[in-house]
Symmetry: C2
């Protein structure tokens, strides 16, 4: 527990003295490190190799090393990886912010491709890694691994971590690429966790078609109920804020309701044994589509930046944490009786990860390009390489799942488990550091950076809210629809497009009047909204044509 | 630990299933209750009796009752009061926001009076309650209480809780009253905690002049070092943000740095065994004076509302928590062998609290009025009554201190301790509910509400930031200084005023050029600051004359 298990703080016999200095020291170190990471990350912003994640990881490693040296390897309290901290406190703000800030237009326009990559792709990757591990691990004589363990390994190493790449990609310059990498990352997170869950509950003894069907059924059930819960909570928050018509001075109330409801959706999902990641992601999308437009201007600025800030802090915290945890001495000792094995294992896993990802990115891109109309941008080969590369990194989700599978409460006594944990840590560190460092050069090689004035900077100097509106609406405004062409592409595209049109009608006629949204907020005289009326009208016009 | 001890969540043998449903359920209940409190508080806003604190308290009581019924009095896990939660997570945002949003001009103009009420007044109240308890408790045959216990009781019941009153007072209509009640509340929080700490470390066996001197010395040491640490951290944050010149798109970084540094100041203070409350309060003041002016416009809006929101949530959480904890069955059982005693004790304590407060409010107000020049507003008798009333409520600080003194980790087996805890809970509930409910009617009786257009609403419709600037500068702008009058008032007032003038010079010449502040931020072309240039110039002018 480390940071959270502050049970002994302030509970000494006499007075409010702090008895558990360890916990207080931990918190102080962490906050100081977070601050330094932010400052260093800012200073290194122009650098073509480093980004904030790598900085945090390196600083975590360094601090872990210093702590190990200071305590002579005895004290590893600050180092124990806690799944709670990860799943209850760090992941929800990151995923919620992802949903809240996503360019909904781009996301939903590429919805099919994203689902294809995120769900089907992850399954393909899972199958390949599982089969590969079953075939290759046995030569290494790692220890007794069962079918369930191999399946779990497949799920663990199917969980990608695209944060590094997203930090480098520019949302305005390469909207298609960004939305694909981003969307796939979220769906992949959810898929791999749901997959892992389903595997753990699988009765492997009687593996037949019925079990497989059951598995698929459970997978779909989790997917849809989780999404539904997120949408429902988001709509409820929109309805409450619209009905109550909080006055202008109630920004605190509005922001509180939004924050609390977002977290409630995640915790409800946990309570109902669903996928919190999916729930909170869709809650974020619904909140940015309805709730966000029902609040005052200052609430909008505040929520946008607060959610982004919390997510930012959580991300850095995470990388720091992984870096520190990597040096946890206990598991290294246990695995060190055969030091070569974890390294060989990691190499095999890294190879499998690369093959497994290539096995779905290129075929699925081809499929996705087939279904696209000629006017719409296709995924070029260079872009396919970037998508492939973006998902090679393994991160905190892999570590959390590995700890869940191979340890109990962060500790293990079994050698094979210790080897699996160390291998996971090596894979995560290597992929994040080496692949992560190569991302910027690779990108600037494949996509030459544009010169000339930065368009987004010109846009946003007009108003504080303008960039926000732009980001909420999506940056591309192709209005005209060419006449339908009766060919394969059209047949494949038509359903998505008519669904989108139907949704627009439904949204305008039934949803917005009830739940609010842009152009449907009751006008409060003298409120700050009045100032931005031209923006709003503009918004309504473009929206009617675009959304 | 309840909410924080999530150790067992997600750590079941197989998969990511949630095993410790209790913790998840607790979090869900708490978040749902927080949302309902906000909504109900909003709906009842026009009501002249109720406010958000009482709503939260009542809802906490109701929920505690329901949980007791559902679990047949067995499960009290959600009810255990945790000092950690209080001192590490809930108190810092409340106090920091207090410092951040305080009208510095009003606060420093009335600095002497505030210190008089907050520090000297609390000490007077402490002495009277201690002596009264020593005299009156012995007749009740409560049990064996030592001198140290009586001193602790004095400190516990000297800690006021003026949140209720502040929710009702209007900062714009009665600035003097607001700043006095508010400032006293903060200084009182710090004084009582420091006092309690000092008592616990006191060697009562050898109580003589030297020990008393030592006590006073320690008290002063804590006071000044804590303040210094807060100021230093605040200045550091201002310096970092000014030096780094974060670009326009780095709002997340700026907000992160401000949040993290604020919390760091509190945790550092805990680490160094100082008063975190004082530290974080002064850190808030310095941040709003320097750091806040160095960041971008959207960062300003965001930080202002984020800090207010976090404080708002923490406050409601606190009252919910106290309400739930009140029904903790264990201590009631232990104390119920003599059910009349806690009630008699509570009545005595309430009487002592009222007397103890009257004993310093009226004399000190007289003193403070003496030292005021004729032009400056004096504290009228009606205002003195309100100040007296505002500090009668006892709140979470009292409960936290009582738990610290009379239990170990929230549990006690000794009857006299159980009686003291139940008495504290009764005093807190009674004073918050009954006195709290009477506050609004009392205020509207003593200060008839103004009619006509709300000036602050007119002001703030001009710009999002205007009300903020106003609130940061203080609402009163009396510029001219009349010629000095050589009388008692002048002699008493002169030091404060010349100190203020010296400070202004020092601030303009040395502090602002280094740490930034209004009018000293480097101008970034094309940044949102450009838009608010007229505001800024106005700010600089009024500031040069006023600050």
């Amino acid at each position: 527990m480390g940071l959270l298990g502050l049970g002994a703080v302030l509970k000494s016999g006499g007075g409010l003295e702090v008895s558990d200095y360890d916990a207080i020291i931990s918190i102080n170190i962490f906050i100081a490190l977070l601050c330094s990471c932010i400052v260093i990350g800012h200073l290194l912003e122009g650098n073509r190799w480093v980004n904030e994640s790598t900085t945090a990881l390196v600083m975590g490693l360094l601090t872990g090393g210093v702590i190990l040296l200071v305590t002579n390897g005895a004290n590893s309290r600050i180092l124990v990886f806690s799944e709670d901290l990860f799943f209850i406190y760090l992941l929800p703000p990151i995923i919620f912010n992802a949903g809240f800030q996503v360019k909904k237009k781009q996301f939903f326009r590429n919805f099919m491709t994203i689902i294809l990559f995120g769900a089907v792709g992850t399954l393909i990757s899972f199958v390949i890694i599982t089969l590969g591990a079953m075939g290759l691990f046995q030569k290494l004589d790692v220890g007794p691994l069962e079918l369930g363990d191999y399946l779990a390994i497949g799920a663990i190493f199917s969980a990608t971590d695209s944060v590094c790449t997203l930090q480098v990609l520019n949302q305005d310059e390469t909207p298609l690429l960004y939305s694909l990498v981003f969307g796939e990352g979220v769906v992949n997170d959810a898929t791999s966790v749901v997959l892992f869950n389903a595997i753990e509950n699988l009765d492997i003894g009687h593996f037949d078609a019925l079990v497989l069907l059951n598995f698929v059924g459970k997978f779909l059930y989790l997917f849809f109920t989780s999404t539904l819960l997120g949408v429902a909570t988001g709509l409820l928050s929109a309805y409450i804020i619209k009905k109550l018509c909080f006055a202008r001075h109630s920004t605190d109330r509005e922001v509180s309701i939004m924050m609390l409801m977002a977290y409630l959706s995640y915790m409800l999902s946990m309570l109902l044994d669903l996928s919190g990641i999916l729930t909170v992601f869709f809650c974020g999308i619904v909140m940015s589509h309805y709730t966000w437009h029902n609040v005052t201007e200052s609430s909008r600025v505040t929520t946008k930046h607060t959610f982004a800030t919390l997510s930012f802090i959580a991300e850095i915290f995470l990388f720091l944490y992984v870096g520190m945890d990597a040096l946890d001495i206990e598991k290294w000792k246990l695995a060190s009786s055969s030091p070569k094995k974890p390294i060989a294992l990691s190499a095999i896993i890294l190879g499998l990860v690369m093959v497994g990802r290539a096995a779905f990115v290129f075929p699925l891109s081809f499929l996705s390009n087939l279904s696209k109309k000629e006017r719409r941008p296709k995924i070029s080969f260079k872009q396919q390489i970037i998508i492939w590369w973006a998902g090679l990194m393994r991160g905190a989700v892999s570590i959390a799942l590995a700890y869940n599978k191979f340890t109990s409460s962060g500790h293990t006594e079994v050698r094979v488990n210790a080897i699996m944990i160390t291998s996971t840590v090596i894979v995560v560190l290597f992929s994040t550091m080496v692949f992560g460092l190569l991302t910027k050069p690779l990108l600037s090689l494949l996509i030459p950076p544009r010169t000339g004035p930065n368009t987004s900077a010109l846009l946003s100097s007009e108003s504080v809210l303008d960039p926000l509106l732009t980001s909420m609406m999506g940056s591309d405004f192709d209005v005209g629809q060419p006449s339908p062409q009766y060919n394969l592409q059209f047949i494949l595209t038509a359903p998505t497009r008519s669904v989108h049109r139907l949704w627009r009608k439904f949204d305008d006629r039934f949803m917005r009047p009830v739940f609010g949204g842009r152009g449907f907020v009751p006008f409060v005289p003298g409120s700050p909204v009045e100032r931005s009326a031209p923006d709003n009208q503009l918004g309504t016009v473009t929206e009617a044509e675009n959304s």
